[in-house]
Symmetry: C2
Subunit: 285 residues, 2 copies
């Protein structure tokens, strides 16, 4: 039988809980999520469990990071399931605020990272990173964690949050965690459940393309044009998918590079109908 | 003989100092300043002294809140004098970082409050409040104060910071402190020292106009058009001054009101040559 962990729904409540822990010298690890937890999230919770005295998992489907035509309404929600999975993975407390607790009527303050948010996912999701940075800042201020855990699958999100935390001198360590994959290579995502069977069957093409690029780089290939062509030919096999972007950028500044030099990020987004999947790997030139 | 207080110039240094205090349960009060301290600042330091175990005064002329045609270069600086005055008023430590400590090369993150920053000073100082909110967020994250002290002279700044702190769930209490005035009514400001003698002689007109409005409101006048005309006729006497704005707005949303109802802010900015002075009062309808 799994243990039941408390679930705070107000800011005052989670502050009181974590404040008591901090007062007795405990360290706090935060895993911010939008719920619909899968193995990827659970790996973050386990990492937080190993490094902190108290682990809080926030579950909040943040409306300000969804565009007007995006899937906010269809975003999967399962609080009871998430709570049980979080407990099993080692979380101590859930923070699950209603929308009006996080965004009261007079809300008008935004945190924005410029430059890093222009390309990749930022191009097709205007406002997404502004909403994400704002809610993460709020969660940091509410929970005051010593460490916060983010998956490398959302590479741009991770780069943006790391830059934001550094630029604003936030007293939190940003801990990146490796992407967790299905046996066929598809990166775990809450959105995978919305793929039709034929789409799901083609979705591993993303990681296949990335792996092909990794092999080419390992064999000495440095031209991003060559890598791009190789990946597009593999993605073309996934006839139900439509490439949103496929880019090779510097790992720190996310600016496209003509040749692989230093640490680079190869990142892509592919749409299968209404479901947009992202994936990436890092390569070294 | 005045005591000498330490002056931290790096983020690591001030964090270590304040962290030790917090570890033994001390409360921290922050007074953010741009230096050139006058009685107004000293009243903030004294208020902080009365309410906290440790008082830190930050002295940082924040470049990102000055516009390209503003007086960043001419802003008065006197660290030794400020340090002595701060000590005398009860401060425990100064934080005086160089510009590159606060804004390293890859700085690209901004905190912005929308709406509240459009009118009043925001209209003639685009980007000012974004820079101010960003540096105050950084100072809050660096010093993690229990309370932070701001003067009511900068009424819009105070409203913007209060909104920002509330919206972003910052764990700090924003404490407003009354405007401190010269014997002739002129609000204390680091910029007053730059007025030529004839300008200085006319500068009390701002407060005279505000006081006239207060008297009229006290006598039952509720029309902002009438108050506006009365104030402009007084300001016209200050022939060397040019009105930048003169507005009567709701105290919370800073939106212009046609009649005085509830708590309202009467705020103005007047230019004497290159020196821009601001002042305000609150009235109740």
């Amino acid at each position: 039988m799994s243990r039941t962990i408390p679930c705070a729904t107000t800011i005052a409540e989670i502050r009181a809980t974590l404040g008591q822990s901090r007062d007795r010298g405990a360290t706090v690890g935060l895993v911010p999520t939008m719920g619909a937890l899968h193995e990827g999230h659970l790996s973050l919770i386990r990492a937080a469990r190993a490094e902190n005295d108290v682990v809080v998992v926030s579950i909040f489907v943040n409306p300000t990071q969804f565009g007007p035509n995006e899937d906010l309404k269809h975003y999967p929600r399962d609080l009871a399931g998430d709570r049980a999975l979080s407990a099993e993975a080692g979380a101590d407390v859930i923070f699950n605020p209603p929308e009006e607790e996080m965004y009261p009527g007079t809300f008008s303050t935004w945190v924005e990272v410029e430059g890093l948010t222009d390309g990749l996912c930022g191009r097709s999701r205007p406002g997404h990173f502004r909403g994400m940075c704002t809610v993460v800042t709020k969660l940091f201020n509410i929970c005051q964690p010593d460490r916060a855990y983010f998956g490398e699958k959302d590479a741009q999100q991770l780069a943006v949050i790391a830059r934001m935390a550094r630029n604003l001198d936030m007293a939190v360590q940003i801990v990146p965690c490796p992407t967790v994959r299905e046996p066929d290579g598809l990166a775990m995502s809450s959105r995978n459940a919305r793929l039709a069977p034929e789409q799901r069957a083609q979705a591993p093409a993303l990681y296949e393309a990335l792996n092909a690029a990794r092999v080419l780089v390992g064999a000495g290939q440095r031209s991003t044009a060559v890598l791009d062509r190789a990946m597009r030919s593999i993605l073309a096999e996934a006839s139900l998918g439509e490439i949103d972007y496929l880019e090779i950028v510097g790992a720190d500044d996310l600016v496209p590079v003509p040749t692989i030099a230093g640490e680079c990020l190869i990142a892509m987004a592919v749409r299968f109908g209404p479901v947009r999947l992202i994936d990436n790997i890092r390569v070294q030139g």
